[in-house]
Structure formats: C-alpha cells, structure tokens
Symmetry: C2
Subunit: 415 residues, 2 copies
C-alpha cells in the first residue's frame, strides 16, 4: 500500500487537475460535498440558461412557431448525435427520447425481432431492477420466449449463450457496485453465439470512455440525468448500430417515428434510420436543459476524465480503508480501478443510518438496501479535497457510532 | 341569421367576459393573436415561476434530496388528481406521465387484457393518426386480434359493436374538425356491447366540460400542452376507472410502477392503483411547468368556460361566413356549438398559403393537409376582440388573393 497522502499532497492533486475550472460552471450549494452525481447530476449555468431561453423566448414568445424556428422537432436527433460523440457512435445512430425503461422496452423488442428463430433473452440478475422488469415483460409477450439470468440460471454469462439466445442485456456499469464490464470482449462472445448485444449505459455515459462502434455493440440505452447532468428526469437515449437501422421494428409506433408525420396518414410507415425509435411528443423543456448540459461536454477530454475518475476513486478507497477500516466498512466495489466506474460502494451493517448522518453533515451520497452506502465522483465538479473531506466526515460519524442514535433507526425512502 | 355584431357589441362582450382578467396571467407576445392554443398552449407566469423554483432551488440547491423534499416522486399522482378534478374523475384514478401515444399503448393493452375472449379493437378512421398507429401495434401484438375502423369497415360506430369487440377508442374532440362527441351516450352503447370505452381527451381537457366518472368511461388518455398550457411536450395523462384498478395489466412495467420501487426486487409486483401505469423516471422540469399551469385552473368555472368557448367560436363562424364567404372558405366544423370543441376549421383550396399569410400578419392558427385551416380559441387568454380582429385580417388576405404570390407556394413542415 502506498503512503497515505497528506493535505498538501491533496492540494497538489487539485492544482494539477485539468478539470479544476469546470467546477465553476456548476451551481452547487454551499457547504455540501455532492457525491451523488451518479444518481442526479448537478445543475450547470449552461443548462439553466438554455431552459430560460426555451421558456421565456421560445415558448412564451415564439409559441407554436418554435417547433420550427427553435428546432424543437429535431432535438431528439441533434442531442442524440452529441451523446453519440460521447459514447463512440458515429452520427445517425443515437436518439434522445422518453425514459430509459421505455427505451429499453423498444430496444429489447427490436433485438428479439432481429433473431425471430431464437427464444431466449439473457440478462444479469444484478441488473438495475427496472431493466429486469422490462426484460420480463418483453420475454413474456413473445410466445415460447423466456428470460434467463446470469447469477440465477447460470453462474457466468458464457453459460447462457447458445443457439437459442436471441439477445443479451448487460449493464455496462453495475448500479450498486460500480463494476465496469469489458464491452468489446463481451460483445464478441455474444456475437460468437449469434446473439444481439444490448448495453445499458446509464452509469457509464459521461463517467468512463464508451466506444459503442469500436466494441461492435448492437444496441444501447442510457440515462442523461446522472453524469451527463441533464436535469431531474431528463430523457433517456437509444443507440442502434447503423447495420440494424433498416430492419428495425419496435412496438411503440407513434407519429414521431412515422416517415411523414405531418401527412397524418392512416397507416404507419416507419421513418428511416434511428428516428423510428421515436413515438410521441418529447418533453421540450427537459430536453433544453439537457442541451445546455451537453455544451459543457464539448470541451471534455474523456481520457483525462477517466484518469481523474480512477485517481479519485482510488484515493477514496485508500483513505476510507486507512481511516475507517476498523469500524466495519467493507469495500463492495472492484479494487482494480480499471474495472470500476466513477462510483465506490461500501457495505456496513448500519449503512442507512451512516448515510443519513453523512447527508446531515453535508456529504451527500446514497444508500441502496440492505447495507450499501454509495459514493459517486463526478470528475467535472468534485475535487480531491472533496474526497479527503468526505472521508474525514465519515470517520467522525463512525467513531461516534451514529447508528446508536434512535433518530436514524427508522427506514425511509431514499432515492 | 342574427345581425352581425359591430365593434361596440364586441367590446361589450369582452367587458362582460368573466375570464377577462385571466389574460394577464399569460406571457403572450405583443402584436400576435394566438389561435393555436389547441396545439401548444400559452406560457403563464405561474408555469415560469414553478420552473424557476424547480431549477434554481430544487435541482441546483436541493439536488437529489428534492426527490423527497420537493415531492418530485409524487408529482405524477398529485398532478393526476388535479387533472382528474378538471375531467370529472374522483382522486386516485388519474396519473400524469410519458407521452399521449405511449400512454395510449399502455391503456389499449390494459383494455384488451380486460376482455381476453374478445379479439377486435375498434377506432375511428378519423382519429389522430398516432392513435391509429398505436392501435394497430396493440392489435397486431395479440394473436388473432384485429383493428376495425369506423369510416372504413363500417359507416357508424354502432355497426362495429358486437360480441367480438374488446375495446373502442374514441377521440372526444376530433383534432381536425373540432367535432365533439357525446361521451355518456357512446360509452353506454359500448358497454351495452360488453366492450371497454377508451377516450382520447387531447383536444377536450381544458376546453369543454369532461365528466369521466358520470359518463362511466373506462379509460382515457390526454394531453397537457394544449388547452391546459403545460408547456411544449408536457407529459400526458391516463385515467382508469376505479373499478378496473385492481385488475390492470400493461406491458411497460418499470420500477416506478412497482409496489416497492426502492427495494429493487428482481421480480415485478405492480403497485396498487393508478400508479401501475408508471414506468420510468418522469421529466421533472416539464412536470413542474405543468404544475404551475394547473394552478390557474383552480379558479376556473368550467361551465362558464364552455359558454365563452361556444360564444367565441359561434362569433368566429358568423364573422368568417359573412365577411369571407365569397372567397371560397367552407366551414369544416359542426355548426351547432353544442357539438363543437373550442376550435373551428375551414377548408380552402389554398389553405396552406392563407395560413402562412395569417401567421405573417400575427394571426397564428395552423394548417392540416390537404386544405384545412384551423383556429383554436383558448377561453383563458383569447378575447372577443381577438376574434373580430383575426377575421378582419383573414378577410384582407382573401381579398388580396395571397396564394398568387409565389413565396407561399412551397410546402413546408407545419406543426
């Protein structure tokens, strides 16, 4: 183990941080260290400005005309291409719309339809729960189809890949542990079995380098309100590889996915390309906040971002284990930075009470039942000093044994 | 025909208008008469204020904590009940979420599932096109099921009601003609055939009295960005009658519809009640604008609103026919105010060019191919003087024969 850095070393890390000036673009509350950007990203001045323009100028003054003059209609495609740039997808393959779960429903149906003679959908039992519910729904809607789970039906994904496997859904980064999977290697294995690879990028877009085209991914869905900072409930996105676009079929066929939406023809004819994943009218105001948030990403070097993410999470683990290891916190994330996203989880028998105490002292992470405390490190607005300081607060809480205070012994909803 | 009112009579009507003070609550552009509130409602100061609070205080300062402290999580239900109040539904039957088309997909699946031994879905051929695409998708996903259309497969809806009919989808107000149907009478006929009645309220919520409970409606979907003024792309809503809630099943089963969403259980168990129509995370910012918009509706007397709607549209028809009748405009809406929503459509061979000329002169209505010009009269912010003035501009345009000017002879996208 390397020597524990002192505060001077921490300050030197911040001084050398290529993202040190990015923090000023965000509107963070005073007295708070925000380690939950993996759940809801911070607001930026750019997002707020776009939203104000969309509201005061485009909606209030432009009214219906803004669908054309402010290009509201094209936003799902325009924003999609910008997210494509951040996830290694050439233009024309990504669209922003609806919610992650709804998008996953469309994508899993599309994936299964590309393998009509195969009947098995595969996913990880450790997937984000909503992904599993949607996968169950898609599998149960197709006669004879079934869902099989890594971790339940077989210990390893490879054991579930055979000639019956139509599609495989994988969470690129596990929401609970932060484990990062090898997209290229797993996609190769899935393709070797003749199946379709579907990736959920909710915890990886904006956190780690994602190379959808290079990895040969077939489909992906993802979230824009976490590391991309699009705002609460900002719409999700869908990626579909160019080679599949012509054959895409999905059941949520609304007018926004029609070849000629304003002809109001009685029968459906799918638009060409990625647009056919669109269904109904999109939430323009939420989209405009996302547009502002994405402006910041234009000047982000993703390789440098990844280096900072690993350095911060390595530092956090090192400090927590050194200062808090005696109090029963156990690392629940991969120790190897290369296999970890931008978040670190620990377990503790009194995790819920500990997280409540942290939040009360201005260190905001989150809790996942039954015992996981989770800390996200958004490299654009978290400093090494934040990492240092958050561990100091955690150490104090553990030393005091906060869970003995009855006020934290109730269970409440934690988002 | 009654005598044509003069400007003094118009001014007297405005002076007696119980909604004359409501206009000040909206942020309308100067020099514009906005007759497209049936497509995108106007921005209100209340909506803008809510959005600012949601952005600056709740997102930027509250961050993840606002899911609880600002009740973001409960908004779909809270806003749903407020829309229920406007549409004659007691609390617990309405939820705000997603888009109208996606909601219709859920509702039609739920309706068909309630009649498993019946195979026919019925709709009007004149439905909003996206409704038809979704109906086609739902019908085609069920083995042996089919979609039959009033206006194609039979001239009258009654001819399509038999023991095979599982559900009937009806547009309460036709988007193109403004024709208003009798919800109670049609629902009775549908129920007499043992089928489920599904209403699309997109053009009626906020425009005419809607009495879902009294009419015995089974399900409804609707839009909040038209007469309800929720903002561009504001989320849709779903109504489901209390008697169906316990048996509801729909395929978009995401974590927001789970009985215990934060337990992250591997298998789906539907929440009780209307919440089971929720799927993924909702667009909070768009929802908050809608929340502000709905504040205005708390003090609206819907019966008075309806009287103004009929008076304005009657006046518009009377003035257009008297002043513009010689120029080839033909009424395409019902002449009887009781059978008409808050919009009036005319056809004209050069409808597209005429509407472009109107918009250029600050009278904003819209165009629906091939020849329909459509004018919506939102009673909260349109005055009788606006009606008078818009007809004066239309008359001038028709007298000048604007369609002879080449610049209007191109076809462009009109939203």
């Amino acid at each position: 183990m390397t020597r524990l850095p002192d505060i001077a070393a921490i300050e030197a890390m911040d001084a050398a941080d290529p993202f040190r000036d990015f923090r000023d673009r965000f509107l963070l509350p005073h007295g708070v260290i925000y380690l939950d950007g993996n759940s809801l990203g911070a607001a930026s001045a750019a997002a707020v400005m776009e939203l104000q323009q969309a509201t005061h100028e485009e909606w209030a003054q432009g009214l219906i005309r803004s669908w054309n003059t402010a290009d509201w209609w094209e936003m799902p495609i325009a924003l999609g291409d910008r997210i494509g740039k951040l996830t290694g997808a050439v233009p024309g393959q990504t669209v922003v719309c609806d919610s992650v779960s709804i998008n996953l429903y469309k994508v899993l149906h599309a994936a299964m339809a590309l393998r009509p003679l195969r009947s098995v959908l595969v996913a990880e039992a450790s997937s984000f729960a909503s992904d599993l519910y949607i996968a169950q729904s898609v599998a149960s809607s197709r006669p004879g189809a079934s869902l099989r789970l890594e971790g339940v039906d077989a210990p390893a994904l490879e054991d579930l890949l055979d000639r019956k496997t139509a599609a495989v859904l994988i969470n690129h980064i596990n929401y609970k542990t932060g484990e990062l999977l090898d997209m290229a290697a797993l996609t190769r294995k899935i393709h070797a079995a003749g199946a379709i690879a579907v990736w959920d990028l909710s915890h990886s877009a904006g956190a780690v380098p994602v190379e959808l085209d290079a990895a040969g991914a077939d489909f992906a869905v993802g979230c824009t309100y976490k590391y991309l900072n699009g705002g609460p409930g900002a719409p999700g996105f869908i990626f579909a590889a160019q080679r599949h676009l012509a054959d895409l079929r999905q059941p949520l066929i609304g007018w926004w996915g029609h070849a000629r939406p304003f002809a109001f023809e009685p029968t459906f004819e799918a638009a060409s390309g990625i647009r056919r994943f669109l269904c109904g009218t999109q939430p323009v105001l939420s989209m405009r906040a996302l547009k502002g948030a994405l402006d910041i990403w234009d000047s982000v070097d993703i390789a440098a971002l990844r280096r900072k993410c690993i350095a911060m999470t390595d530092l956090f683990i090192q400090l927590v284990e050194a200062k808090c290891g005696d109090y029963g916190v156990v690392l629940a994330s991969p120790r190897d930075g290369a296999k970890r996203g931008s978040q670190v989880s620990f377990t503790h028998a009194h995790g819920y009470a500990i997280m409540q105490a942290l939040i009360e002292r201005g260190v905001i992470g989150d809790f996942r039942a039954p015992t996981t405390i989770r800390f996200g490190f958004a490299p654009l607005y978290i400093s090494y000093r934040d990492v240092w300081q958050s561990v100091a607060v955690l150490e104090e809480i553990l030393r005091m044994g906060v869970w003995q205070h009855s006020r934290f012994n109730r269970r409440a909803a934690v988002t």
